[in-house]
């Protein structure tokens, strides 16, 4: 990092010198591949002469040189700086751009490491603002340490600017930050390096795990900001590789892939290759889904840091991202039928400002790819440390696997069985002081938790069949994301009550949250 102090009082920094090479290598590979395609053919058609090799190589070399040259110019232009208020990035050779990102608009800062960058130990910062999409800033490449430092600095500044303890509050009490303890009460190894923690991870599912989760959940006092700011991260869970593999294989897509392969092999064996080939599209349809999930979620580790949940994952490309737990708008725990035997759950969240169409392929919302019920609850406590009820574990248990009206659940009436023959007894919601929990799904179990202050707007809907049966569905509008919370098929009376009261509850909860933020 070479620092240049300029007249504007900002300290401008440069990204790492290797950046043009890392950005350029893909072009070189493309040129070489293009050349290589004709190569075997030429060889078959009449041997090769030295010039057949040298000319393409020369072109590739020239292209590489040009690209690296351009990359070097771009590197010279690329500078960044920050003040108390904003992050400034200058870039572009022909079309110069100076971008100013207000710090209080920054939602998340991820560290990503593409394959080649990983070999040379470089990282890129991906800075997302509330608008999402094209307004994101990519700062790269930086050395591992610089990337972490810059991120820490920015987060510190953001912390000061927004002055919103919610966004950066650690869910841990300060004394725990000194000596990390996992949910079974054993001390944990502290981590501050970014190369992936290797610590012990709680996997016990016994009663102890439950009780300790409850203890941690009960602590709602925000930790003094500075005190925990640079405290080591505390690993909450690390998903073992076999479980990731098993969970990816225990999916409908994986089953279809395997069935397709079996049918194809059988067809080949009986000499009917036409059928075998006609099934190829299926293989290309489902296979990548399984593969993608495997590759992207391999080595999934979640740790609590002062600014949220730090997630690291990936087999070929490691990504580290921070999910600001204070900005989570809704959380979903889901369990497919194939996972039920193993008691596995998946936790996803909606985070404000993280959703953009370009990032559709990238999963930024999973905070637990596959975990036990205890881990699923840990994920929930992380997002919502105080559920606002006396016995949160019993309540969440009832929400996860229960049915009927125990513990205050309001469910669909019997008349809903015509529209929803399986899950009408499970369908429903329960309220706590802090959140609403919507429960649904008979085969694939789902619960959605929305803190009261996070509801954007509400709607009640009723179709002709529902009207016949005296039913209505309520939608809770959350920020854009994977989760679209709703409660289906309530009685008209219950739906109206939910609509009216939830509007008041969310207003009051917002007022309370604003007061806390202001004080």
């Amino acid at each position: 990092m070479s620092d240049v102090r300029e007249a504007d009082g900002l300290t401008w920094r440069r990204v790492h010198k290797a950046t043009p090479f890392i950005r350029g290598w893909i072009v070189v590979v493309a040129v070489l591949l293009g050349m290589g395609q004709n190569f075997p053919q030429d060889m078959l058609e009449g041997g090769i002469e030295p010039r057949d090799v040298l000319i393409p190589l020369g072109i590739a070399f020239g292209a590489a040189l040009l690209w690296v040259g351009y990359g070097w110019l771009a590197w010279r232009r690329m500078r960044y700086a920050w003040s108390d208020q904003a992050l400034y990035v200058k870039s572009g050779v022909l079309f110069r751009q100076e971008r100013k990102v207000r710090l209080d608009r920054i939602q998340t800062i991820h560290i990503t490491r593409p394959l080649l960058a990983r070999f040379v130990g470089l990282s890129e910062l991906d800075i997302a603002s509330a608008a999402g999409g094209e307004t994101n800033v990519k700062l790269g490449f930086l050395t591992e340490n610089d990337a972490i430092q810059v991120r820490e600095m920015l987060l510190d500044h953001i912390d000061e600017v927004t002055d919103d303890p919610q966004t950066t509050r650690s869910p841990l009490p300060p004394d725990h930050a000194e000596e990390p303890v996992d949910s079974t009460g054993q001390p944990l190894t502290a981590h501050s390096d970014a190369n992936g923690p290797d610590g012990h991870v709680p996997t016990d599912q016994d009663a102890d795990g439950y009780e300790d989760s409850a203890d941690r959940e009960a602590v709602t006092e925000p930790a003094p900001r500075r005190a925990v700011n640079h405290a080591p991260e505390r690993v909450i869970y690390e998903i073992p590789a076999p479980r990731i593999v098993a969970s990816a294989l225990l999916s409908v897509a994986a089953f279809l892939t395997i069935i397709t392969i079996i049918v194809m092999v059988t067809a080949f064996a009986f000499g009917n290759s036409a059928i075998a080939f006609s099934l190829l599209p299926f293989l290309f349809g489902f296979g990548p889904f399984v593969w993608q999930r495997l590759v992207s979620e391999y080595g999934f580790t979640a740790a609590v840091a002062h600014d949220g949940l730090r997630v690291r994952k990936g087999l070929l490309e490691t990504t580290a991202q921070t999910i600001p737990t204070g900005r989570v708008q809704a959380l979903r725990l889901s369990q497919s039928l194939l996972w039920r035997r193993f008691g596995w759950w998946r936790a996803t969240v909606n985070v404000a400002g993280q959703f953009s169409l370009q990032d559709m392929g990238k999963d930024k919302s999973t905070i637990l790819p596959v975990g036990s019920r205890v881990e699923a609850m840990d994920a929930l406590w992380l997002v919502l440390p105080d559920l606002g009820t006396e016995d949160p574990i019993a309540l969440v248990d009832a929400a996860l696997t229960g049915s009927g009206t125990d513990l205050g659940f309001i469910t669909s009436p019997r008349s809903a069985r015509w529209l929803d023959p399986w899950s009408y007894r499970r369908n429903g919601y329960v309220l706590t002081d802090r959140a609403i929990i919507a429960r649904s799904g008979f085969f694939n179990r789902v619960i959605e938790v929305v803190p009261h202050e996070r509801t954007q707007s509400l709607a009640v809907k009723q179709g002709p069949l529902q009207r016949r049966l005296g039913l209505a569905s309520v939608e809770l509008h959350s920020t854009p994301g994977e989760i679209v919370p709703s409660v289906g098929h309530l009685t008209e009376h219950d739906a109206q009550r939910l609509l009216e009261e939830q509007a008041i509850r969310s207003r009051e909860a917002r007022a309370r949250a604003d007061q806390v933020a202001a004080s």
Partner: protein, 165 residues
Amino acid sequence: MGERIDTLFDPSDVTWTRVSPQLVKVRLLTWTLTMLLPVVAAIVALVLWTAWWTALIVAVLVGVFVWVAVVIRRQVPAMGYAEREEDLLIRSGILFRSLTVVPYGRMQLVDVEAGPFDRKFGIAKVTLHTASMATSADVPGLEPDEAARLRDRLASRGESRLAGL
């Protein structure tokens, strides 16, 4: 039964403002223009090849046209909005009913839009945006003055009750 539905989509303490009847005209005009080409093409086809299937196509197209036109005529009077102390209510639909509650404090921005036909018939559409894409809070068919008044009112109410995400 009618009474029960009324309480759900028509709370007793709320006075609804209906949208302008001009909206029926705009929507019917748009719909007619949309269907004009297919219907004419089908009729031409019927004249050229008089067969049972060309007749069927014409019948289906005309049927769809009339059906949707009837639905539009019924739908528009069912639309309404109401400003309450803390939130805006928007109601729509007869067969598929919906009632949306948008708290003022949640509004991010308010748009007023008017297409060429809208302007011709002197109406405009007010759209409320919250941080959620699911909030489909459109109030179509407002007279321009009313649209501007509603926008300003919503904006000022939203400001005074602005809440963070």
